[in-house]
Symmetry: C2
Subunit: 594 residues, 2 copies
């Protein structure tokens, strides 16, 4: 059986540009965190603290992302000899947990890292921070007088720019000449972001250019006070081609506004959009962008080259990218159940279909039988059959079928060559569907609604990795169920992409889980599995799963379904070269079974 650290790293997505920097597998098969010169065994960390689960917050990762962004942009500007200014700001909406803001605030000192807020409570929160050297604060969202007056109170400690998006905004801000103005313009270009409705003429945010022209005719103060152009085309933009359009349009709008006389308009804020790579491969989907941070920075720098004459300054508004990796959610597996019913054999079900499975001599024949089975079961369960006396017979039929199919698959695969096998599963078929369907249901001590709400909100992908037994081949494909009484509280998404060519000669069974014979991977091919490759916890064994990169938005969107909210937290930091680990919110543990 071919299995090892290298395949495990590949299968569980630890090979991406980003993850390779901070995650690895130990010689004991545990997931380890690499921070500076330190290595932390995450399995030991969580079991030692005996918790049902926790958010592990790795503060040095926030700093790492900040530094990376600045360095990559500066490198791109040097390369192109761009003389533009560069100012990073952090939008509170991505994560306004105190510890996150504190970290960005302190580490942002040397970069003069600014902030972006959009609501009154965000203004309240950020007003607790202040500096001798004022930092940029870009304020968007819907305003009223109370909101603006809150900003007036802060004006000595911050360089405040307030966006206008409507005539009402312009009317309110007329009364506060001490505040600088940002102009939030609607982009016409659209993207394939999950938040694609953020751009286009009919998007929620911003004002059209011609409506702005009409307003500026009426409110001449805007000529002087406007200092920033702000656009936002949606979070997590998947393709460089989309970004190219957006940045191009923004530059064109900027040039136009300078031409019509907004002489103080020096800041260009390109808004959010830089996608965080939630997968270890580039796919150009909402969760795996087809570009890198380097390419993003190059694009902006190149497109803005002509703006030096305007003394322009690029504002980078990265939220998700900065905070996504810093939180890893770790949860205990507490019960393992069959996905449907446990496959077993009933000789007496009396349907010819069992014989047909047994007789299948090759994959093609098995595929035909599987197609037929699907029809039979759909027909029996969608009609009223289930409500009649043969209800138990129906279950016996299904479990017998599952038993026979899994036996047959093992038999057929064990006498095939790898290339034959791959040829068969390259294309959609009932067999492939069978192979990527979980056989088990694993209950995990967490709430999808509270801990990874974006699974519910935008069907977001989160990489799942077991904390232990990584040097053992996964035994089963399992769907994860949470503690809520809601059938949406499930997680079974797994992108399998094992790129490395192995020296070892593979046989088909190497590509399958060891117990339920489901698909693990096909070398060099991207396969979406409908379950997570896992091990079955042995009696008394503590088995935990990590959900990676839950640091952006998940803290803010967490729901209180079935009163499950909050989670213990393990804070990891490095202070003066020393590793500091602290457990907080431990009392939340009592809400979750172990």
């Amino acid at each position: 059986m071919v299995w090892g650290k290298e395949i495990a790293r590949n299968l569980y997505g630890l090979t991406g540009d980003m993850r390779i920097q901070y995650l690895d597998i130990s010689d004991e098969g545990h997931l380890i965190l690499k921070i500076g010169n330190h290595e932390i065994d995450l399995y030991e960390l969580i079991t030692k603290n005996d918790l049902p689960g926790a958010h592990i917050r790795i503060l040095p990762l926030i700093r790492k992302m900040m530094v990376q962004v600045v360095e990559v942009f500066i490198r791109a500007m040097k390369k192109h000899n761009s003389k533009l200014g560069f100012i990073p700001i952090y939008p509170l909406k991505s994560n306004s947990s105190k510890i996150v803001i504190d970290t960005i605030w302190s580490h942002g000192e040397k970069y003069n890292w600014g902030f972006n807020i959009g609501t009154i409570p965000e203004a309240e929160l950020i007003s607790n921070y202040s500096n001798k050297k004022p930092r940029l604060l870009v304020v968007d969202g819907v305003k009223d007088k109370a909101f603006i007056e809150k900003l007036i109170d802060m004006k000595n400690n911050w360089e405040i720019i307030v966006d206008i998006e409507s005539e009402r905004d312009v009317e309110i801000l007329k009364e506060y000449p001490e505040l600088k103005i940002g102009i939030r313009i609607k982009l016409l270009s659209t993207t394939r972001s999950p938040w694609s409705k953020s751009s286009g003429l009919y998007s929620k945010f911003g004002i059209s250019l011609i409506d702005f022209e009409n307003i500026i005719d009426k409110y001449e103060y805007l000529y002087d006070r406007s200092v920033l152009l702000h656009v936002h085309a949606g979070s997590q933009i998947p393709s460089l081609e989309d970004l190219d359009k957006i940045i191009g349009e923004t530059v064109s709008i900027y040039t136009y506004l300078r031409k019509i006389g907004l002489d103080n308009l020096t800041y260009i804020d390109f808004g959010g959009g830089l996608a965080y790579p939630y997968t270890h491969f580039k796919k150009g989907s909402g969760f795996s962008p087809d570009y890198t941070l380097e390419e993003y920075a190059e694009l902006i720098v190149e497109k803005t080259m002509g703006l030096e004459k305007f003394d322009a300054k690029i504002v980078f508004e990265g939220g998700r990218y900065i905070v996504a990796p810093h939180r890893i959610t770790v949860s205990k597996v507490i019960d393992v159940r069959p996905y449907g019913a446990r496959p077993r054999i009933y000789e007496d079900v009396g349907y010819g279909i069992i014989d047909e499975i047994r007789k299948a001599g090759n994959l093609k024949e098995l595929n035909n039988v599987l197609r037929k089975i699907r029809e039979v079961i759909t027909r029996l369960t969608s009609r009223t059959e289930a409500s009649k006396e043969n209800r138990i017979l129906l279950e016996k039929l299904i479990t017998s079928i599952e038993y026979e199919v899994s036996k047959k698959i093992e038999e057929l695969f064990s006498r095939m060559r790898l290339d034959e096998f791959i040829e068969y599963i390259k294309y959609p078929s009932p067999l492939l569907e069978y192979l990527i369907t979980p056989s088990m249901r694993v209950f995990v001590s967490f709430s999808v609604f509270n801990h990874i709400p974006d699974k519910i909100v935008v069907d977001q992908y989160f990489q799942v990795v077991p904390l232990s037994r990584l040097l053992k081949k996964p035994e089963i494909l399992a769907i994860l169920s949470d503690l809520t009484c809601d059938s949406m509280g499930e997680y079974g998404d797994f992108y399998s992409y094992v790129e490395k060519p192995f020296k070892e000669k593979l046989i088909p069974l190497d590509l399958l889980t060891s117990t339920d014979k489901k698909l693990l991977y096909v070398p060099n091919m991207l396969v979406k599995l409908n379950g997570i490759p896992l091990h079955i916890p042995r009696k008394g064994e503590k088995y935990y799963l990590a959900f990676l990169e839950t640091g952006a938005y998940q803290d803010m969107l967490g729901m209180n379904h079935n009163m499950l909210s909050g989670y213990p937290e393990i804070l990891i930091d490095i202070i003066d070269g020393q590793l500091k680990i602290k457990v907080v919110n431990k009392s939340y543990a009592s809400k979750y079974p172990v």
Copy 2:
């Protein structure tokens, strides 16, 4: 112009069986609440308290729903001469706000109303309630020893039944002989509920019948201690046909379990599923069931008639139905902006298409031009055109088109007969699409993510009704935007169904909004509009919108996006015949602009 109270009631969905009982329009055109003999003007209530918005909680409506359920079931049982027991229980997951539980607890005294919980914090909460006469407490969800021991502490005050769903559960419960057992079985029948994955063999909850049979062979204690059969096919089941299957299957499972010797199994808990009618018409969709409470009760009573010999008792687990109507969320409109850009005319855009609109002599010709326009705009905005110098030209083209189209529509409609008009808009066409698309974007002082999260989670429909000017014909069709920085924070769903035939002779313009000439309704035809029919607030006017029936799940699922959570609440109650109104959580108001 034909408009009046009757049309307003119809358009805003105040004619449904449910809403007609507690909502109406006053002679001033305000939305009023009718509770007992009291009438409360909701517009006055909110403006008097000068709030950006509030959840109005009407506690007598919870009681009303409780009484209705009991009475309808008792009536159905009398009619069929059924001798079965009937026990209602309330699942905490639907809404575990203290005030809701308190209300159900107190009013449930005379009906011996029980509860259903599924997590440790829910057990903590319900343990605060206790009675001399123990009420039924059905416990599902994932258990551990600590959870069970919490229940043991409560065993003198509650009649506790703990569901088993896996061998682990059976193993744990073996040690606690004092607890009665419920058996949660998987249904094979599936439904068209938005939570359809709650049933079927591969659903999250329950154990298959044959897995249960295997377990009972090993754990004989289950024969004696099992007292309840529990199923759950998903919330909000849309069709009576689906319910028929589910109830039939449940009865068949129950009969089977009695046959194999579970002699103490007397309770049958049919789980959730009774759909609350979120619309005023029956559609058989996830939010408008094709049946009534009466039909639901009749179905259960009829299907369980054969179970008298088992001394069976029906457990009704209604959550959503009981609490949905008690909360009305009311929010202030604070800014009105164009949906795209304000339509206006630019003579110089230099595209022949404007002329084509002007020349259209009838709806058919206009339709053809509209089809062409759509292609042109899609082409221009999806390519890189927007990023070039003609960016502003593109906006001018679009706004000119919108201006000309709206003028042309008014011209054509004003010389048509009603039947001609209806014939044209019966079927999908670019014209119909134009007519149901909003022209304005209205910012409302609330958060979709916090106040109506199910819009995000399951695309739920909530009826929107203005609190004032209901005797004036709506002026515009508008999409509602919330305060978050998220493009998903929008609401524009409106089912228009005006059933009443009017005595007045209608002309096409009667069916359109008065300002932007968008579609309001077509008599006797269900039309889904993509915006809400509203009025434009005049300068200084306070204009509020109500979102009806936000009482189930929305309190639990509320997210903290952009730190917007919580809302002032106005509690309405009747105590000893006296109307009591109390404002609580007023401090939350400062988070929201006015």
